[in-house]
């Protein structure tokens, strides 16, 4: 194959891959309010949990252009991620003691969008 043909093939390959992967990012629409609100539905703030048990943490994020997915933190350490704005996490088993559990909606770049919901639970 000639050099020009080689370069043309390489260019076509690059263009195809680029178009396929760039498309969605170019059409991000902005039409809604920016102030996302996240709520932890369960467990309740101040709940007493058992150390060896696994619980379900239910959360809901108000629809927002910025919010893409949700990170779950226990005592500041990220423990899970879910690609739903309304859903649940598996919480536990947790170590005994007072624990701070937070749900943080983030954008596509994993950057917090400013809203965060936290509860304090006592694990026995």
């Amino acid at each position: 194959m000639s050099n020009k043909a080689s370069i043309a093939c390489a260019g076509a390959l690059i263009a195809a891959v680029t178009l396929a992967s760039t498309g969605p990012a170019l059409f991000v629409l902005s039409a809604m309010a920016e102030d996302s609100l996240v709520t932890i539905l369960a467990p309740a703030d101040g709940a007493k949990l058992e150390a060896k048990k696994t619980y379900t943490l239910d959360y809901e994020v108000q629809a927002s252009v910025k919010a893409d997915h949700v990170h779950l933190f226990v005592d500041g350490d990220e423990v899970a991620m879910v690609h739903k704005l309304k859903g649940s996490f598996k919480l536990g088993p947790l170590k005994a003691g007072d624990r701070k559990v937070c749900v943080s909606p983030v954008n596509k770049n994993h950057t917090p969008i400013g809203a965060q919901a936290c509860i304090h639970v006592t694990v026995q």
Partner: protein, 134 residues
């Protein structure tokens, strides 16, 4: 919000073109085996692509920091993937820089192109992990 999306999309655009180039160019060089002068040009393009990758990669963090006031929350597997991507970029730039400092008339040899192709594929694989884990 529009500005933020435009900034993210611009950075993503550069990053995607860079990703396609750092992987596609070495594979094309190995596959089509062009003449040495062309190989040399392709090597320059590959170096440019890796530099674009590095700059646009840093651009994601920069946009986050100036638009949201925070850096992305990246931990565990995603952090490891980011480190792999950075290492791939550093290695590829070093490999190509060393080649050009030698001032040889021909382009890089097969071993260098294979190395660059592996680095490109590894970086692209890590990018998928970084995107879907945190």
């Amino acid at each position: 919000m529009e500005l933020e999306n435009i900034l993210y999309a611009s950075v993503q655009l550069a990053h995607n073109f860079g990703a396609a180039a750092v992987t596609g160019l070495p594979i094309a060089a190995l596959w089509f085996k062009p003449a040495p002068p062309v190989l040399r040009k392709v090597a320059w393009l590959t170096l440019l692509a890796w530099l674009v990758q590095s700059a646009s990669g840093a651009g994601f963090g920069t946009v986050s920091f100036f638009q949201e006031g925070e850096l992305p929350q990246i931990h565990h597997l995603a952090l490891a993937a980011l480190c792999v991507k950075i290492a791939c970029a550093a290695l590829a730039v070093t490999l190509l820089t060393v080649h050009f400092l030698r001032r040889t008339a021909s382009g890089p040899g097969v071993a260098i192109w294979r190395g660059l192709a592996i680095l490109g594929v590894t970086a692209l694989t890590s990018a998928a992990i970084l995107r879907w884990f945190s």
